[in-house]
Amino acid sequence: MRIIVCAKHVVDSTEIRWDDEHDEVVLRNLPTKISDYDRNALEAAVVLKESEPSVDLDVVMIGGEAALKTLKEAVAMGADRGHLVEGGWDDPFDPLRSARVLAKAIDQLEEPDLVMCGLVSEDGYNGVTGAALAQLLDVPYLAPVVGLKVDEGSLEAVLDVGSALRTVKVAMPCVVAVDSAMNVPRLPTVLQVMKVKGDRVAKMSLDSLSLSADAAELAHAGELVGSESGAVERRRVLIEEAPDEAAARLVEYLRQEGVL
């Protein structure tokens, strides 16, 4: 069985700040990583591979040179190889473009039975890319997946649809988006990441995907054109007394606010 996990190279979302002075979101010089939710997808794929060693597992990632380190980390979780699609920045506000590039890349690889990704990306939170990819590949899409079982060409998945845990069965190929509740992703050790040699990660140029710079697939369908601070102004009263006095003071403030 062939599995392809689409993992996203992102700026660590917990480090992103708003710069009041320049009125902009600061993204420069921040640590980058595998999008958290895609690590859940990778973990689910590696678990399938552990139970069925014949599983062949590829990771596909869009990004520039800087994404290579992230891709190696993803492969080190237990994949056979990684493919870096040299499509530049994987724009969080243009999930359709991401899906089109990923679909082109998957077309170039040996046909997968199962394509997996996280439910959302930690920078865009769109929840669109996986389903758009399913539409482009013309296959079923299952989400949010909290349980998976593979059985001779068909896939049984448990979906968390809010009011119920719904079990469904589809014939593969299909795309599944994994919910973070499904598992706790393993952290590859530094040594495991170092052991991912160059021959296990390959680059795919846009040329090799027959995508010229002006290809329709690369045209922006959504673009961030402005931003302003999202913060809510609060009073910021600090209470730094001993625990009993601090507690009494907080209760007093809350009583004055009329919320007790």
């Binding site: 769109n126 389903a131 509740a181 961030l224 054109v225 209760v251 606010e257």
Partner: protein
């Protein structure tokens, strides 16, 4: 050229009204607004919490027509929903507005691909752009900022955050047009549902006490029980507690990937205040916190912050609340 035509759809009646109201504002009196409903084996699937008569009544003055797609199957499926939306958009649909729900993201994504559209998620507002197209407003990077997303290709497909809407349906019905969906594009066998009983209502609670990584062990969460009962609060948590450590179920998660509170009082215990968490707290009137780090982001995003050891402060808070009453 005819005035713009909008397509709106939603899994709930109130969200459908909200989408229709926004579409009407953008379409103007000359424009056209078509609402999409799906009906299947068990009756109306979307919007699920009302009959067709309720739905058509709630749309009076907002939508021109309610298109009802029969044959949507056993439960609301994203691919079937997309098939209905694509049909409703037709050749001249300018914009599609859908409120978020479990199958909505698949519906929106498939529709956008099929219609060669542009798409934006998590929208909070939508305006026409100068020179054509639309601009959607949404929270970006987990709530760090509000961003404007230009949607350049037509139709523009917009997924709105699910929300509360105090609609005032006039009761006068809009015309209903029945249509039938073809066979599903994909065969999905429904093996069964195991109902999940949700006992937690964080979004509607008037007091929420939330716990974070300041708690060292799972057992230590017992410390907050007396405080939760003294305040008559609902217990919430930050992402690591629900998603990484899995100490509490995800229905207690406050933040971007969980619930957004509207509480009078939100009390954050041992929560550093990552922006993804704060996004879910924006709707709280008063935010209080107990944290041992005066430099943690929560101190800039709370009204009252006790800087101290929560293991010592929480029992004292219970004492202070009890002695007051």
């Amino acid at each position: 050229m005819m005035a713009g035509r909008f397509v709106v759809s939603s899994a709930s009646v109130t969200d459908l009204q909200r989408m229709a109201e926004l579409a009407r504002r953008l379409a103007g009196a000359d424009g056209r607004v078509d609402a999409v409903a799906l009906a299947g084996d068990a009756g109306v699937l979307a919007p699920e919490d009302g009959t067709l008569a309720d739905t058509a009544g709630g749309l009076a003055g907002l939508a021109d027509t309610l298109l009802v797609y029969e044959g949507a199957g056993e439960y609301l499926r994203g691919d079937m929903w997309a098939a209905a939306l694509v049909d409703a958009v037709g050749r001249d649909g300018e914009c599609v507005l859908v409120a978020d729900a479990p199958a909505a993201r698949e519906a929106v994504a498939r529709t956008a691909v099929s219609c060669r559209a542009s798409v934006a998620s998590m929208c909070e507002d939508l305006q026409r752009a100068e020179g054509g197209g639309f601009v959607a407003r949404r929270s970006i990077y987990g709530g760090v900022a509000d961003g404007l997303i230009a949607l350049v290709s037509t139709p523009a497909v917009c997924l709105f955050a699910a929300g509360k809407f105090e609609g005032a349906p006039s009761g006068e019905s809009v015309p209903v047009e029945q249509r039938t969906l073809g066979a599903p594009a994909y065969e999905v066998t429904h093996v069964g549902d195991e109902p999940v009983v949700r006992t937690v209502d964080l979004a509607g609670a008037s007091v929420v006490v939330s716990v974070g990584r300041g708690f060292v062990k799972r057992e230590d969460l017992d410390l907050v029980d007396p405080l939760v009962s003294a305040l008559g609060a609902e217990l919430g948590c930050s992402r690591p507690i629900a998603e990484d450590f899995k100490w509490l179920p995800k229905e207690r998660l406050v933040g971007l990937t969980g619930e957004s509170v509207t509480a009078e009082l939100y009390l954050a215990l041992g929560i550093s205040g990552q922006v993804q968490h704060l996004t879910g707290v924006k709707g709280a009137r008063v935010v209080a916190a107990v944290n041992n780090d005066a430099k943690a982001p929560i101190t800039r995003n709370a009204d009252y912050v006790v800087v101290g050891d929560l293991y010592k402060v929480v029992p004292e808070l219970v004492n202070a609340l009890r002695s007051r009453s």
